[in-house]
Symmetry: C2
Subunit: 129 residues, 2 copies
């Protein structure tokens, strides 16, 4: 799955690629970057707030109890990553989910976490051998 990265520039036109593993390093960094954006609980909270529709920055400030500056920065990060979209509405700015796949992604992680925890719980049920 990871070996068949789409953004490996598909160098089929090039005669020889020096290192097959080297080529996709940029892609790996981009993927890691994406994960890093999601690796912050407050950003996930913001995403969750926007699940039901678009909200202004001050709405999000109220709902998350974060400072306005902090919310704004997180929204910027998420927007830059293509996860959120924004539009002006008079004096305020409304943010919305731009990449709904994000929820599926989180669902996936939830599943993995559940499996992991079940496995660890099983270790208690049947300890050592």
């Amino acid at each position: 799955m990871l070996t068949s990265l789409p953004m490996a520039k598909t160098p089929k036109t090039k005669a020889a690629k020096p290192e097959p593993s080297e080529l996709t390093d940029d892609a790996l960094e981009m993927i890691a970057q994406r994960f890093r954006v999601l690796g912050e609980a407050n950003r996930l909270r913001l995403i969750r707030c926007l699940e039901d529709g678009e909200l202004s920055v001050s709405d999000l400030v109220v709902r998350t109890s974060l400072t306005q500056a902090n919310v704004s920065r997180h929204l910027q990060t998420l927007t830059h990553a293509g996860i959120l979209g924004r539009r002006r509405d008079g004096v305020s700015v409304l943010y919305r989910i731009a990449d709904p796949g994000i929820f599926e992604l989180c669902g996936h992680v939830c599943g993995s976490l559940q499996a992991d925890m079940a496995r660890k719980a099983g270790a208690f049920a049947a300890p050592a051998r």
Copy 2:
């Protein structure tokens, strides 16, 4: 999707939950933690190396050109997160993928990245309106 978090302790037995959004904060932190583990290109490289089967630490050192200490630490992080598994084989330790769902997850991110880049590329094709 994020609102129906499985690890929200399913408080159906409890009469009243004080704050529906507060309850899942632990879960959100766990999810973020999981994303953070994947938010490191070198760790993704290690995961990719293990895609074809288990390898020893020194194998991975050779393949990634990272230092032994660094590889060992990353493997520890990934193992702790339940993403990798390990077993001793004589004097060496073999690591393997313990959560194959990780590849699906990366595939998902790749898809999102592609969509995002396509969108941004489209902005060049039809600039400003």
